[in-house]
Amino acid sequence: MRIVKDLLFMFVVSLLFAGLTVSVNQALSSRISLNEKTRYTKQLLDVLKISYPADASPEALQGLQKVHIERGQINGKVVYRGLDNKGNPVGYAFPIGGKGFWGRIDGFLSTENDLKAIRAIVFTSHNETPGLGARIDEPWFRKQFENLQFTDAVGPQKYVEISKADSSGKNKLDGITGATMTTKALEKIVNEDLKSILVNKDRIGRIQWESPQGR
């Protein structure tokens, strides 16, 4: 008899709290997915250096994305192309990613139209230490990548070097103090992805571009 009573109690309590979490989740899910979509759009616009008002509404951002960003595929991987106000291409954005120090680092890297120089870099998600590795998100760090020519390797399999000891010289970037492991991991990610962009260079000209529907 006791076991039946216990089971019944657990069943009712579980039902009650599952109901609570499910209803809160239901009520907020459209807002949460809109937030995620807006974040994604902003990051794409940022990496392609297409300006937008800081207080742009989610709807306005979706509109901008439809006008300024086209989507294509190489080898099943997504590529984006940015357009200026007249519809002329300004550059390409490639998803990049790999193993960081604590977890995966993911983001976008954009190149100029000629596929010879980096346009910008942004990170969409990472689990690096707040205040140390997480500083890869800071503008001063990301700005260092802009305009770097990556047609010639500067070392074995290296187009970009990040080091805190010596940041003078071609394609050498200033690392983050206290975040050696994160910068090393990031250097590997960027170099591998730059290499695959160069390998696929000829295919990019043959992409069929389409205006993205939302994400």
Binding site: K5, V13, S14, N35, T177
Partner: protein
Amino acid sequence: MGISARKIALDGIWGNNPIFRQVLGICSTLAVTNLVANTLVMCIGLIYTQAMSSVTTSLLRTITPYRLRIVTSTLIIAAYVIVLHNVLQAYLPEISTQLGPYVGLIITNCIILGRVEAFAGSNSPAASFLDGVASGLGYSFILLAIAIVREGLGFGTIMGYRLPFEFTHWTIMVMAPGAFFMLGIITWLCRWIDSRSQAAKAAKKK
């Protein structure tokens, strides 16, 4: 009700402080205290979860079968944390991304289960609510003290604002060892102050 509200509040914040007396919730004390802003959100999250879970556990205490009390408490705590996580994602998306897994980890914070089990299970809802808030505040003030020293010495900033003087930053303070040093120092300091005031009280009685 045998215990006065004043005693519950003082116990949670000082006399029976979760960090330096009960030594609970140390994992988050070490993990989130290198930036004051993150610490603050974590503290607010903890106070909310503790207060809500304590009240709910207390309300259900007369009908909860004794051997099911831990399962029930865990379920209650998890539900409130999931609600908090969703609300942060919906209304404060940036802070939610920054805190990453820490909000979810409130579920495993030992202070919550400790207070629910030790206090809410055998006291009235109002007393449990007060105990929850007081324990949360006791946790928060120690965490904020640690975070201010760590961010100040490690980055030369407080809440992201630069300190008015320049010095060589102690990078070790924002890494794991800095958290251990600060926790040790604060625990010693608080216990030393506490033992001195106890001794003073005892001397007065004579």
